[in-house]
């Protein structure tokens, strides 16, 4: 019983940075300050520990799927809670719509044995990238999330980070360099 539990702890440690980046990407700048990505992930892991017995019996992949689903629920609950508090604003974030349309991320990661190996390999790289973003200095990581995961322009990223465009471009370039280096290292391990 002890063996699978520690394996589960290992897996969760591995998935933590990935989930953090995903959570940060979901939380729009308008919601920042009200929602914390780390709180969402923490809550998700607490729930995972509560269900440790069930999860430990499954493999690594189902654990990841379970964690993502739990993260989604926690995120939607948090948004619902916020909406109840501030009824006037955030009307564009409709929970029902989100719940219905959240499945693309689920589908995207749901590469099982039947999927082509290239797809699986790509998902692996994406997961590695999401994890590696957490290892970057906070400003670099934020810049990368805003630019590449939220699709903001250089100007918007600079505005959100309250930096000059030149400095933001420097952050982004160095962030991408770091990410590529980390992915390269991970590819060899």
């Amino acid at each position: 019983m002890i063996e699978p539990q520690s394996e589960l702890a290992n897996s969760m440690g591995k998935f933590r940075p990935i989930l953090l980046t995903l959570a940060e990407s979901m939380i729009s700048p308008a919601l920042r300050g009200n929602l914390e990505a780390s709180d969402l992930v923490q809550q998700t892991f607490l729930e995972a520990h509560r269900n440790a017995d069930q999860l430990a019996a499954t493999g690594e992949r189902p654990v990841f799927a379970w964690l993502r689903k739990a993260l989604r629920h926690n995120f939607l609950d948090a948004v619902k809670h916020l909406k109840a508090q501030k009824n006037d604003s955030r009307r564009t974030l409709r929970c029902s719509e989100m719940a219905a349309s959240f499945h693309p991320i689920e589908q995207f990661f749901a590469a099982d044995g039947t999927s082509p190996s290239q797809f699986a390999q790509r998902n692996e790289q994406i997961a590695l990238m999401l994890a590696a973003i957490q290892e970057l200095p906070p400003n670099q990581g934020n810049a990368i999330i805003l630019k590449h995961l939220l699709g903001h322009s250089l100007k918007e990223v600079a505005c959100a980070l309250q930096l000059s465009e030149d400095a933001t471009a420097g952050l982004l370039h160095r962030g991408r360099q770091q990410l590529a280096q980390r992915l390269k290292k991970a590819g060899h391990e």
Partner: protein, 536 residues
């Protein structure tokens, strides 16, 4: 992507300056927007490699996240079906319950609202409302009309005519459309832009992607007033620094690079910058690689942007018909004052290019007829005059002198019967050559009367006079037809002097000059080109 994981791949040691990185970052954003084939220079390569690598991994996640926000439900409209999106707005197609018609609906991109900061959202709303107002202000048969403007759930939206056809960029890539048809479409758009300017509005984002073809009528329609601005309110510029590099006037790129304040950018925006965009759009539909050149010129530095513009101009001069290239290059002039003052002037020049005669349509292989039949005929005419001038056959001499007009007038007369296109140009040609014929006959008659019995002296005096008349005729033609006619006019003026000196060989020399002129016109004037009208 795989070479990132190779042992050989090393991170470069040298650091790029932040300002340079910012330029590269914007250039990379432009590339993402247009999804063009990328041929980066050495300087860009390293930056672009990282950008594409991370972008490639991140884009599926971004798409999934952006799909979390869906469009609102609009009153009177059925479910919205996305047909495209730009930097600010998304365009949907939906059926109107009341009119039972399919309309296009433009709304601020839901993901922009979901992911943007409060300030960004406010700015987006302001820009979007402005777009509605300015687009509704102009009414023209080649501008997509606005039907209805509304607001729902905090989203401003407007409905407009749904233009289902391809855009000019896609259309020009196909082989089933001739250059003449494409230029005809551009003329319509240029007239529409003129109407926009007359309403005191600058479009600010003219590019082939914003020119759509109506599937039912085939009419080109101008759309997207997202960056439009009132000329009277340029100082309070709402849009800030925006546009598409590839079609942006050099003064705007310069303002963007050096000052980067809204005021500076607005100060240099003018009708001339729209004219430049029209020229770049025209250049992009010419059968050259100008589009690739333009899109892959992110303007890394002043010298670089200038070099690439020069490269584009060379391509246009080399590949396009000289008259069309001249029009295009006038739009692409570096100095705003050197460009067309109004869009209407550009439209007029393009229309006169379209109206120029295309003789090959009426007489296939007219070029060969000119080179191998008419030119030798003219030379032989001169030779016969020279041989006959000592004898007593004055009528035969007169016939040999003026027989060259017969094929010319026959061609002009026949073209009128075959096709009524380019009527204006044909009338001009008729006037010029009829005048030439009448003036020649009149001058020979006058000279003959003056010299009484001396025919040889009359002939010697006639040919320099006729050469001078030809010089005038070719100068007159150089204005609206081939530019080379100006040089032919100069050559004939010189020939008038040579012929006066070369007596008694002036008839032979005149015949040779006429034959050379005939061959030069057949080879140089695009009106005689074999593939005219299909592809240049």
């Amino acid at each position: 992507m795989s070479d990132f994981f190779d042992d050989q791949y090393e991170l470069p040691d040298d650091e790029l300056a932040d300002s340079h990185l910012a330029e590269l970052e914007r250039a990379a954003e432009q590339r993402r927007e247009f999804d063009q084939a990328i041929e980066p220079t050495c300087i860009e390569q390293e930056h672009l490699r990282y950008f594409s690598f991370i972008e490639g991994l991140a884009s599926p996640i971004r798409t999934a996240i952006s799909q979390m926000a869906s469009p609102p439900t609009l009153p009177d409209y059925g479910p919205l079906e996305e047909v495209g999106y730009g930097g600010m707005g998304a365009v949907y197609r939906a059926s109107n319950h009341k009119t039972n018609r399919i309309d296009a609906i433009k709304i601020i991109r839901p993901d922009r609202i979901a992911c943007g900061s409060q300030e960004t959202i406010l700015q987006l709303r302001r820009r979007f409302q402005r777009e509605c107002q300015l687009a509704a202000r102009v009414s023209h048969e080649h501008i997509v009309p606005i039907y209805q403007v509304g607001e729902v759930d905090g989203f401003t939206w407007f409905s407009m005519q749904y233009v289902a056809g391809p855009n000019l960029h896609e259309r020009s890539g196909r082989k089933d459309i001739s250059l003449v048809e494409l230029v005809r479409c551009i003329v319509c758009i240029v007239r529409a832009i003129d109407a926009v300017h007359r309403c005191g509005v600058l479009h600010g984002d003219i590019k082939p992607q914003n020119i759509l073809f109506d599937q039912a009528t085939g009419r080109p329609m101008l759309s997207d007033f997202g960056l439009a601005e009132l000329t009277s309110e340029l100082n309070g510029n709402q849009n800030g620094i925006a546009g598409t590099f590839a079609y942006m006037a050099p003064e705007l790129i310069e303002a963007m690079r050096s000052h980067r304040t809204r005021e500076d950018f607005a100060a240099v925006r003018s009708i001339a910058s729209d004219i430049f965009s029209l020229g770049a759009t025209l250049g992009s539909v010419l059968p050259t690689r100008s589009m690739d050149l333009l899109v892959t010129s992110p303007a890394l530095g002043t010298e670089d942007a200038e070099k690439r513009r020069e490269q584009l101009r060379n391509h246009i001069s080399f590949h396009a018909d000289p008259a069309l290239a001249r029009i295009c290059l006038k739009c692409l002039a570096d100095e705003p004052c050197a460009r067309y003052a109004t869009a209407n002037q550009l439209a007029d020049d393009l229309a006169s290019w379209l109206d120029r005669p295309r003789w090959n349509q009426y007489f296939p292989s007219l070029r060969y007829l000119l080179c191998f039949v008419v030119a030798p005929g003219l030379a032989l005419g001169g030779l016969s005059v020279w041989l006959l001038q000592g004898g007593e056959h004055e009528i035969a001499i007169w016939i040999a002198m003026f027989v060259g007009y017969v094929p010319l007038y026959a061609a002009l007369w026949a073209s009128q019967r075959v096709h009524r296109d380019s009527e204006r140009a044909r009338r001009e040609l008729w006037s010029i050559w009829l005048g030439h014929g009448v003036a020649s006959v009149a001058s020979m008659t006058a000279i003959r009367i003056q010299n009484e019995g001396d025919l040889s002296r009359s002939i010697a005096q006639f040919y320099p006079t006729c050469a001078a008349i030809s010089s005038i005729a070719f100068f007159a033609k150089s204005g609206n037809f081939w530019f080379g006619y100006r040089w032919i006019g100069v050559a004939w003026a010189a020939a008038a002097i040579v012929l006066a000196i070369a007596n008694p060989f002036s008839p032979v020399l005149f015949g040779i000059f006429a034959a050379i002129t005939c061959i030069a016109i057949a080879l140089g004037d695009s009106a005689f080109a074999d593939d005219q009208g299909r592809n240049l």
